[in-house]
Structure formats: structure tokens, C-alpha cells
Symmetry: C2
């Protein structure tokens, strides 16, 4: 295989397909108490078995939370996923925080650093950690960082393979591609460290040791990335595998084990690792491990940095290699990278390159970035995220003091290493609390699905998004596979029951047969017949409405129903909107949503139309603007509540009450701005779960049983919610087979009823 | 209560609501062998326990099948239901027929008439029949007839009740209404017998006995309705209950029992009976029992006769009563009715009425009918069925020889009593065979639902149509309640699996994960990306198509796919029809539908586009017309196959083959008239259940298991149906969650795969 083998790839493919790949992230954060001491508590029990949780586990120490995303099809999703895991872990901690820095917080003495605990099935894991602790020192295991797992998409590689037509099997071709990428990244990882390294100082409790010349140094060192320097976590001595082929790579490591330089292959630390998950013979993906946690962002890394890493992978695959990268070259490169990590902070140093030549590092960085930009242009990749990342990186080369590490150092200088990072940790926890309903990166999905997926992460349930637009997901945990659409369409209910709920005629018939009260009524397809039923309905309050209706159009409520002409007019109006109309008894009262899961009412909610309450001073407009400040209110259904609009509908509705946006309501006066109570038009959701007498709940459960349903949102009119149910003070309106859960979790007033947790229980994913 | 109490009802309600009611029919037919001998075989075992089957049981004799419809909201439905039960019973008999006449066929001696057999739980029923046999003679129990069960709708009665505002409870009001109707019908049943009586002669094996003066008479008697005369089935002696109130009615019958005139109240025979099903205190409906089987129609009674009976009920309710109808009046009326039954055939007799006055019976009949017509006009009822019935009845009064009984007598005169009725029985069996897919009266429902309901009847599963338009039914048998929509949407499948089948992306993903072959492909929302994938797909046969498509519009098949410009053009064409397109591998072969129920392939079907096969003589048009003669072909989806059209689409398709409707195909040449194979456009359904290698069936079952579905219609492309399946000669297209069953039951070529039976098995309604 010649070195410029991949040159022909340029002609094989043009365009954004070059960006196809899978992206995974791993991040470690040490749990700390509010003073910045490493926590001595156990890993949160809620996350269960460390060896089985797909997203949340520990690394070396019991206090070192490790967060892992699955491979995802783009960087935004991977980053959002990581941040969401971070949120979930943060919210689960009591008086503890996630330490936002690769360099450890206040550490106790080595022997007091709690090594991760495992049960019987984790004995080997525990023993290996004890071995590492002895060989490298426990404190040296406490460096934390981010790993970026990357694979080119199979489709991309297959296209290249079929166009380049090399004398290799497809698997061999993949190995060649990945090994070249690994070598190139090992050669130029200094470029990333130079721009995005961010582990500049250590706490006085930290012990630093250079692995190349093992002696402790002063902890007052200030550097660009201590973690990536020889003081960071590295093997003792120089260990350089053979990256020329998969076979050579494996046997070179086996050789190190035979020579007892390592106890096992996994002890080998390399900043970029080929990974073998589909059998030992071929590379599945590569892992980039030289990434410092960025204290300036909750997720620990920015979108720009990640896009830059991906751009480096492509650049690595397609750029010319300088040499065959044998041990000697690796050793030189290693020292060079270590130099950048140690000295890359302040000076534009003259560095000696792998070949002993002195040069200006900024000049070299600039050249690389220019080549990357040229490459993207040549490949006809058009993507703003990557363009921004490359431009930002070039800007950092041109303005080295704008690197995030300087921002961090400035903060440390002002208030101290521990207080600075603790302040950031505090802020991030507040951020996590504020948007505890979102799954970052999946904000286009329904909120109900987002909060269900958050709970999946919490419980260690793997998931996959099968159809994003449709909110169709798959959940998997220990053999329990569940397909779920829109959070509440599940395997728990049988199709016939769903169809019975969907058909209002059928629903009512079944409920009535079970002695439950429904709005009685009849369907009519003929105005004459409907009108003649005045005889039967005279004097009874009725609603005359088109069979299908939106927003109450064509509906007449006749509370007295004594006048035949008015009745006939109502029938005519309804028939103007549909060829089938319904005449139903009018049920006075308030409508409540009963959310039922498995014979339990898990939430009761009342929705009120958009409204404000006066203070005697502010106008309606001002009151609306104030109410809209609530972070739960947004636009476009990405928040649990919607902002109240000041539009034509609201204006008309106020006018009908002889009010305007400028009217000043009296103190305590409630002004409604809409007739309908939909959340989507600014309505309020008010939790009544603890406030509705049990008799109504029993009725709701009987209804669910009558229709043989396990999950439903039942709507009930209740005349006097304070009184127990009797035969004439309620009526069931309908049962919804796809009720939203988020409105019960994040109501305007009241408690989070944790329906996402209850749903996961029902699906068999118990905590 | 005054006699003209119901006069005020006229002002309470106008219009067709007066026709609201529930209508049920019961009919007995004696099973006979092909020579007209009463069958000595057992009641068909398939109909199970006689005491539990809601539709099919026996009456007095084991050979006397009794068919019972539930109460239904209109006469057409009730009649269709009865005819459908008749069809089902007929098709279940082997070398036996249903005797289409109230007067028995060739009977053996009394002691050889098999009394209905019952198991342990039917001991009392058996004993009662033995008692009847001894008291009245077995042959006298063999008169068969039709019962018409009728109730006014509750809505109708409630409207009257609220308008008339009588000093009664609603239940009392109902009793008053029904008792008046009963009395009036008892008074004027002669009118119905006069026009529709039809039991004119008996076989020589029959024994006739007058119950009023019990001695046998000559069996050569010829009469209008022997069954309704004193020679028919009646109690011995005169027994007249008190119809003045429910309490009086009951106590008068109890008195008869005390006096040992009856062994139990049920022994009392009255031509019209009040019925008490909702407790003993109030009347639920009334039963008219004076209806002879009409040998001229398969169902045993015409629509006209039934509408006339209903009209009589309304007339009875609303017309003035002549007297208080005590025993004396009943006795006189009885003799009078008996006289009409005996002598109403030929002469316009001067009859002595209840009061001893002589009058012309035709004149009196004419007056009644005119009053009924006046009543309908006064009530503003506008309904063609009733109008036709009344006009027809008037026509019969004016043309007595046009009564059906004369038609029957003429037939008997020509070929004899037994041969005439056997010929009719034969003809009806042929009719039953011809349309064995229809549920008469429900022909507007989907065929799949119709044949499922037929099987429900066969198995004695009660059903109710919850939403007719939606084909939504409920099945009930011994505690097993099943809701079924469109025949195959049931409780057997869970909702998540339905949603997985509905979503093609999800289906394919799951199948592929299970190692099953699907048409691989990708979705595109961007033409550029799609076009760039030519690199990947070059040289592979593909189909480029809009995501949503009808009738193949916008689809391009590229079997070679070597030319990039053609590929790009195909992408552009697809994007002209949808904003999302699919590029999938092209799978050559034939498409087969695998119908799966509970891990069994119960039917495999291939659909061919509309076609004819030449004979070297006829034109395409003539061949089509000939093929369209098949009774399985109809229009508008009411038959298993549709007629081939000779329209524009067919003409264009022929033109593309340089053919026209006038072209004469060669002997054996198959000419296709459409590209698509839909049954709806004249396609043929061809059963392949026994012709597809088991390996494909295993694949289909694996697919159903992968999606966790119990009922599905799986579509598979198979390249070479004669060869076993391998990794490249098939592909699964999709799984349908609402597959039609009728196409497998009534294919163009091949066997009835009885999917209705298999579905009932799966639903737990085993035979």
C-alpha cells in the first residue's frame, strides 16, 4: 500500500457525504462537595449496576462519574446527549456537584481516594484498579477528560471502496483507512491541544509526576494542558505500538505484555486508539483521548472543538503521511506534543520538530488549518458548523490569548482554583435545573418523548430513535425490548382498545353499559330528524354540534332549550359545518384530565384558558409580558407551557368583555384572554392530583377497565369538584390513547407527577 | 285508562320517528332428505349446544331447525340476518335441505318423529317436549312458522310519554301501549292471514286434528292457512287470558295452570304474545306468531309482509278499540280468524263478525288498509318500503288470486306437494351457495367483515355492530368479549407492533436486524444528496420513487443503472411528486401476500393485473365480457372480485401493446389490460398456499415474530417461486396490519382458505 493511496479518494466522492459518520462521547467528572473536596460518598444508587448502565458508570474512582453516549449520526446529537446525561447526573446528586475540570479538585491522601466499588461480578475490575493505583498512584488516576469516538459511515467507506477498487477486502480497506487516520492524529494532536487544551494548574493536594522521568514536581506549575503533558496520565516508560497493520499493532502490544511492561493490553495508554468491537481482526472505530474538559461549558466541550476534531480525522485520512511512523518517530512526536501541552500557553516557541528542525508553531498550526479548509473546499463540503469551527480555530491561531484556557486562568487568578471551578459547577447545576424537561439535541421531538428519554438514561435503558419525526423510539434493557411512539403509544395496550378509544360512539356505548355517566346524545345525518327530536329534548340543556369540529365552530349550547325555533336554528348551524351532527346533553362544570397507568390515577390536571391576574396597576399587556417571563413558557411547543399571545383572537375576546390590552385589571381580578383552554394558546396547566375526591378517581379507573386500557388520558367534566361523585355531577367526555405526559410533569401550578418514571415502570424498566 | 287514550299521541310526534323500533325474526324449517322425508339425522354438530347457540337451535323435533335473529333496528336488517342464518344452516347440511313450508314434509309415524335431543343441562326441555308429544301428538308439533318480535323504540315511547304526560310511570305506560297493541293484533290478525297465509295443503303422512272438536279430518283439505286454522297448532279447548293489564294477564294464566288446563304458562298458545325479558312485571316486546312460511322466498317471508306487520302494530296502537276484549270476544274473534284461515282461499265469503253481523271480508280488509294509509299520512311518515307494502296489500285485496298461496297451489297442482317444495328447497340451496360471502342486509360493510360475521353466526358468537361505517363490531360468547374493526384489527395485537408495521422505515430496520431480506434503500429530502449516491448505487438495479405515491406515478425503475444522467433524471421526477423520495434496490419477481395468524401461514395469494386469455376467435372485449359473467365479479367491492373495465386506462394500456378492444388474441395468449394488479381494477386473486416452498413461509413467520405480530398480511417479492428461498431471491416489502381476508376465501383460482374460521379460532371462539 503506497502512502498516497487515499489520493484517489478525492475523485471518488464530492459533497457532504464526506461528513457521514458516527460520533460518540465519553466524559469523566469527579463528584465534589460544596467546598470542592472530592466526594467520599457512593456513586448514586439510582444508576444501578455500574457494569450494566450504558450511559452512567464510574471510572477509576467511586467518585469519578463516567458518562457515555452511544454512537450517534451527528456531532450536535452526541454533544446534546452528553450534556443531557450530565444534567441527569447533576440532578440526582444531593449537595454534590460535578467538578468541571480535567485536573482534580481537593484530593485526600492517596489511600483515602475511594477506588470504584463493584459487586461480585466486578471483582476483576476492582483488582485492576487496585493494581493501577499501586503502579501509578491513585492521584494520577484522577485526571479526567473527554473521549471522542468516531467512525466513518459504512456508506462513505463503501462508496470509496467501490470507486477506488483496491486489491483488498472491504474490511481490510477499512483497517487501512482507520490506521492511517490514527497515525495522522497521533502526529498532529498537538494542534488540537494548542487551541483547545485547558488543564492549566493543579490544586495543592495534587501530586504531579513526570512519567518519562518519574519524579514529583512543584504543583505551582502553570501550563496549557497538564493532563496532556508528561505530568498527565501516561504509561511509565516509552511504549510505542506498531501502527502499520492490525496484525502488527496487536502483536506489538502482545510483545509489551510478554516483556511485562504492561499487565494487559488495556494498560497501554495511547492518545488515539483503534477500537475492535466487531471481532478482534478489524477496526470498528477510533477513540481520541487527548481532549481536556472545557470548564467554560456545561457539557465540557464545545461544538467548535468537536467539529474541529472531526475535520482533523478527515484531514488525517486524506493528507500525505510524512514517514512510516515507527517507534522513533512516535517518541519524537510524543515529546513534541508534550512540549506544546507544557509550554503552549504563553510563548510562540520555536519548537524542534520530529526531524530536529526548528520552526514557529503558530505558523505550522496556521498551515494545517489552511490545508483543512482547502481540503473541505476540494471535497465540496458545504456545512456551516465545520466552516465556523475552522474559522474559529484560525482565529485562535491568530489570537492565542482568546483561547478558553486564558479565560479560565483569569478566573482562577481572581478567586482561586477551587472557588472558580466551584462557581462554574454551581452555575451548571442551576442550568440543569432550569431546563429539566429537555433532551438536548432532540429538542425537535415532542416534550413527552424528551422527558421519557431522560428517564431512560437515568434508568440505564438503551434507546434508539427509529423515526425522529414520528417520535418513534426503541427501548432495550436486559431482553426487554419496547417500541414506543409519542411516549404513550406502547405495546401495553391492545389495538382493539385503542380503536375503541378512538371511536367516540363506541367509547360512550361501552362506558354507558358499565353504568358510567357520559354525555348522552345522538348522531344525526338529517336535519329534519334532528329537529323533530326537540320533542324529546325540550327543556333539557343540550349541546348541538358538528360531528367533526375545531375550536368550537358551529357549536350551540342551549342551557334552557325551551324554544323550538332556537333549537332548529342550532341544528341548521351545526349542519353548515358537517353532514353529521351530534346533539348531546350539556354537562356543566370544569374539565379534568385523569392520567391513568395500570389501574392507577397518576395525575389529574385542569387546563385554564390563557389568563392574567391584575394587581391594580399594570395593564393586561404588561401582565401578559410579565407572565411570559416564566422559563416554562416558550414558543412552538418546546417548553411545557406556551407564551400568551397578544394577537387578534385575544383582542377580540377582550373586546367582547369591553376590555383592551391597555385595560388595567383590578387587584386580584382574573382576566381571560381566550375561550379555549389549550396549552398551545397560552393556557395554564394546574395539577389537581391531590385535590379531586377519590370517588372520581374510582370512576376513571372503572372507565379504563371497561375499555380494557392500561394507558389513557381520560377527560371528565365535573360540576362541583369539591363534592364526591354521584350519578349526575360528572360525565366522561372521552379517553385519549395518546395523552401528553409533560403537562403533568411540568404544570403551571403543582407538583411534577413524574409520569415518565411511572411509564418506565409500566414498561417493565423498574429502578 | 280510557279507550281513546292514544288519540293524543297523534299530536305528540310527526314523521319517521314513528317507525323506530326493534325487529327480530324466528323461523323453523324441518330438515328433509332429497326425497322430502323428514331427516332422521342429528342437528348439525357444528352448531354446538342447542341451549346456548343464540342464532341456531332446534324447536320441538331434532329435525326442526330454529333460526333466531337478535333484535335489529330495521326490518331489512332483520330479514337479511334471517336469510343469512338460513344460508349458513343450508351450507352446513349434507344431502339435506330446509323444507320451505309451514306444513310438514313426509313424516314418519308419530313415534318415529325424533324429539329434540339435549344433554344433561336440557333434561327439562326434553321432558316438556315429551309431554307435548303425548298431549297434542308429535305430528301436530311439526307445524313450522315465523315469529316476528317487535318493540317500539324507547326513544319513541319516551317522546310519547313526555308529551302525553299520563298519570303513569314510564314502565306502566309501556305496558298500556303494548297490551293495547296485542289486543288489536289479536283482533285483526285475520287481515294478515287473508293476504299472506300460505299453508294450503298437507302431505298424506300428516294427521290433522281440530283442537276445538278433537277429531281427525281428511288430509285432502285445501285451505288458505291450515296452520292458522283450528287444524293448526293450538291448545286443546278454549283458553283466553285477560289482556286488560299485566297483573290480570299473569293471574289469568296462573289460574289456567291451577285449573290444570296447562302444565305451565308456556304451554298457552296465543297468536300474539306479550314478552317479559327485563323482569316479570313489565312488557319488553311483543311476539307475532301467526306468520306462515312463504315457500316463494328463501327467507320464508317477504319485505312487504314484514312492513305490513309493522304497520299493523302502529295501527293497532293508535286505532280505536271496539270493546274490552274479554274471553267471549276473544273466542268469537278466534273462530272468525280460523274461518278466514280455512275458507279465505277462494270465495269472498260473507262472514259473521264478533258481534254476529254478516259482512264482506274484502270490504273490511280494504277499509283497514285505507285506514292504515290514512294513519301513515296523518303521522307524516314518509317511507317507500311501508308505502309499497300498503299498496301491495291493497292490490292483493283487489286481486285475491295474486296472493302467493295461489302460486304455490299451482306448483303443487302441477308436480305434487313434495316435489314442488323440494324443487324450491333445491333452488334456495343453490342461491345460498352462490353468494356465500355476503351477509344479507349488511352488504354495505366490508366483505371481510361480512364473512367474519357469517362465521360468528355459525359458531354461535353473538355480535353487535357498534359503528357500521367503520366496520366496528363486538363479538361475545361465554365471557369472551372481542372488539374487532375491519375484520383484522383486533385485541390480539399490541399497539406498538401495529405502529411498527405502519412505519415502513421501522419495519425494514427490524426485519433487517433479524437477518431478513428487505428492499434496502434510503430516504432523501435533498436532490443533490440523492444524486451523489449514484456513486454508491451505480450498476445496481434500483427503484427511484416518491415517498408517498399512488398508482406508480413518479416511479422509475433502473434495471441497469449505469447512466448517471438517467439516474439524476429519475431523482428529479420523483421529487416532482414528493419532498421525500426513496431509492431502493429493485427486486425482480412476483409479489405474494402471506396471511399469517398466530405463527401460521394460513394463506398465500398472488394478484395478477386484469387479464383475459384468448381462444383465437373472440375479441378482447368479448373475452372481458365473458370473464365478467363470473358471479364473483361485481362492482363497488360488494363481491370478492371486480369486473374488468373497458375504460380509458385499459384502452391506453392495450394501445401501448399495439392492441385494441377489438383485437382477437391467439388461442392461449394472455392479454393484460392494466399494469397494476389491484383486485379493485379487475385483477385476479390466485391462491398459492400449497405452491410456495416452505422456506418462504418460514421467512414470513420469522418476520411476523420479529415485529411481534399475531395477525398480518406480509407482502414478499419472490424471484423464482419454484425454488427454495436463499439470501438473494426474495425480499419482504411490507407487513400490513389490516389485511383483507375475503380475497383468500374467494379467490379467482384456488381454494377457500377459510380465514374467517381461523380468525375466530385466534379470537378464542373455537368450534
Amino acid at each position: 500500500m503506497e502512502r498516497d493511496f487515499f489520493q484517489s479518494a478525492f475523485n471518488s466522492l464530492k459533497g457532504n457525504s464526506w461528513l457521514d459518520g458516527l460520533f460518540g462521547l465519553e466524559k469523566e467528572n469527579i463528584r465534589v462537595d460544596k467546598r470542592g473536596n472530592m466526594a467520599q460518598t457512593l456513586h448514586p444508587k439510582v444508576f444501578g449496576n455500574k457494569l450494566k448502565h450504558p450511559y452512567i458508570t464510574t471510572d477509576f474512582s467511586e467518585s469519578q462519574v463516567e458518562m457515555i453516549t452511544p454512537p450517534l449520526p451527528d456531532i450536535r446529537q452526541a454533544l446534546g446527549f452528553l450534556e443531557t446525561i450530565h444534567d441527569i447526573v447533576s440532578l440526582e446528586l444531593t449537595d454534590e456537584y460535578l467538578w468541571p475540570q480535567s485536573i482534580p479538585p481537593i484530593l485526600p491522601d492517596d489511600e483515602l481516594i475511594p477506588i470504584a466499588q463493584y459487586g461480585e461480578d466486578g471483582k476483576a475490575d476492582r483488582q485492576y484498579r487496585e493494581f493501577l493505583s499501586q503502579k501509578y498512584g491513585a492521584k494520577n488516576q484522577m485526571f479526567s477528560g473527554i473521549h471522542f469516538n468516531f467512525s466513518f459511515s459504512d456508506k462513505l467507506l463503501q462508496t470509496l471502496y467501490s470507486k477506488m477498487n483496491p486489491p483488498l477486502t472491504f474490511e481490510e480497506f477499512k483497517d487501512v483507512a482507520y490506521l492511517k487516520t490514527v497515525r495522522q492524529l497521533l502526529r498532529m494532536r498537538w494542534l488540537y491541544i494548542l487551541l483547545y487544551g485547558n488543564s492549566p494548574v493543579v490544586d495543592s493536594t495534587m501530586t504531579l509526576q513526570c512519567k518519562l522521568a518519574p519524579y514529583p514536581i512543584d504543583h505551582n506549575v502553570v501550563a496549557l494542558s497538564i493532563r496532556n503533558s508528561c505530568y498527565g496520565y501516561q504509561n511509565i516508560g516509552e511504549l510505542y505500538p506498531d501502527y502499520s497493520s492490525v496484525i502488527n499493532f496487536k502483536s506489538s502490544i502482545d510483545q509489551m505484555v510478554r516483556e511485562q511492561k504492561l499487565v494487559a493490553p488495556k494498560e497501554l495508554y495511547t492518545p488515539v486508539r483503534p477500537k475492535f468491537i466487531n471481532g478482534p481482526d478489524h477496526i470498528s472505530y477510533i477513540e481520541l483521548r487527548f481532549i481536556d474538559i472545557d470548564p467554560l461549558t456545561k457539557a465540557g466541550i464545545t461544538k467548535e472543538a468537536l467539529h474541529f476534531l472531526h475535520a482533523m480525522c478527515l484531514y488525517g485520512l486524506l493528507s500525505d503521511e510524512a514517514d512510516v511512523f515507527e517507534a522513533n518517530a512516535q517518541s519524537k512526536a510524543n515529546k513534541y506534543h508534550g512540549g506544546v501541552a507544557l509550554y503552549g500557553l504563553n510563548t510562540p516557541p520555536s519548537v524542534v520538530d520530529e526531524n530536529g528542525v526548528q520552526f514557529n508553531i503558530w505558523q505550522k498550526a496556521s498551515t494545517h488549518i489552511q490545508e483543512m479548509m482547502d481540503l473541505f473546499q476540494k471535497l465540496e463540503i458545504k456545512n456551516d458548523d465545520y466552516l465556523k469551527s475552522l474559522l474559529h480555530s484560525r482565529y485562535l491561531v491568530e489570537n492565542p490569548k482568546k483561547r478558553n484556557v486564558f479565560n479560565v486562568l483569569e478566573g482562577i487568578l481572581k478567586i482561586g482554583y477551587i472557588p472558580y471551578h466551584m462557581k462554574m459547577a454551581h452555575d451548571y447545576l442551576e442550568e440543569s435545573r432550569l431546563k429539566d424537561y429537555n433532551f438536548i439535541g432532540l429538542e425537535d421531538m415532542e416534550l413527552s418523548t424528551q422527558i421519557l428519554l431522560r428517564e431512560a438514561i437515568r434508568r440505564g435503558v438503551s434507546f434508539e430513535i427509529l423515526d425522529r419525526k414520528e417520535n418513534f423510539i426503541r427501548l432495550v434493557k436486559t431482553g426487554n425490548i419496547q417500541y414506543v411512539k409519542q411516549a404513550t403509544k406502547t405495546s401495553l395496550d391492545n389495538y382493539a382498545s385503542i380503536l375503541a378509544m378512538e371511536n367516540k360512539l363506541v367509547t360512550k356505548k361501552i362506558l354507558a353499559e358499565h353504568g358510567l355517566r357520559v354525555a348522552r346524545g345522538s348522531e344525526y345525518t338529517n336535519a329534519e330528524t334532528a329537529k323533530s327530536d326537540f320533542n324529546l329534548l325540550q327543556g333539557q340543556p343540550v349541546v348541538v354540534k358538528p360531528n367533526q369540529t375545531n375550536f368550537g365552530i358551529g357549536i350551540t349550547i342551549l342551557k334552557e332549550n325551551r324554544d323550538e325555533l332556537t333549537f332548529q336554528r342550532a341544528v341548521d348551524i351545526a349542519f353548515e359545518h358537517d353532514s353529521t351532527i351530534l346533539i348531546e346533553e350539556f354537562i356543566p362544570g370544569k374539565e379534568f384530565r385523569f392520567f391513568i397507568i395500570d389501574n392507577e390515577v397518576v395525575g389529574i390536571l385542569h387546563r385554564e384558558p390563557a389568563n392574567v391576574t391584575g394587581d391594580g396597576l399594570k395593564t393586561i399587556q404588561e401582565l401578559v409580558e410579565m407572565k411570559n417571563q416564566d422559563p416554562l413558557r416558550g414558543k412552538g411547543y418546546h417548553t411545557p407551557l406556551e407564551k400568551i399571545q397578544l394577537g387578534e383572537a385575544e383582542s377580540l375576546f377582550l373586546n367582547a368583555q369591553h376590555k383592551h390590552f391597555d385595560t388595567v385589571p383590578e387587584m386580584g381580578e382574573t382576566i381571560y384572554l381566550r375561550e379555549n383552554s389549550n396549552i398551545s394558546t397560552g393556557g395554564d396547566s394546574i395539577d389537581y392530583t391531590d385535590d379531586i375526591p377519590a370517588s372520581y378517581q374510582r370512576i376513571a379507573l372503572e372507565a379504563a377497565k371497561a375499555l380494557n386500557v392500561r394507558i389513557t388520558g381520560l377527560d371528565m367534566m365535573i360540576s362541583e369538584p369539591a363534592q364526591e361523585a354521584n350519578d349526575h355531577n360528572y360525565a366522561i367526555i372521552e379517553l385519549n390513547f395518546n395523552p401528553a405526559i409533560h403537562i403533568h410533569c411540568h404544570p403551571f401550578k403543582g407538583k411534577d407527577r413524574k409520569l415518565n418514571e411511572k411509564l418506565m415502570d409500566a414498561l417493565g424498566y423498574w429502578l
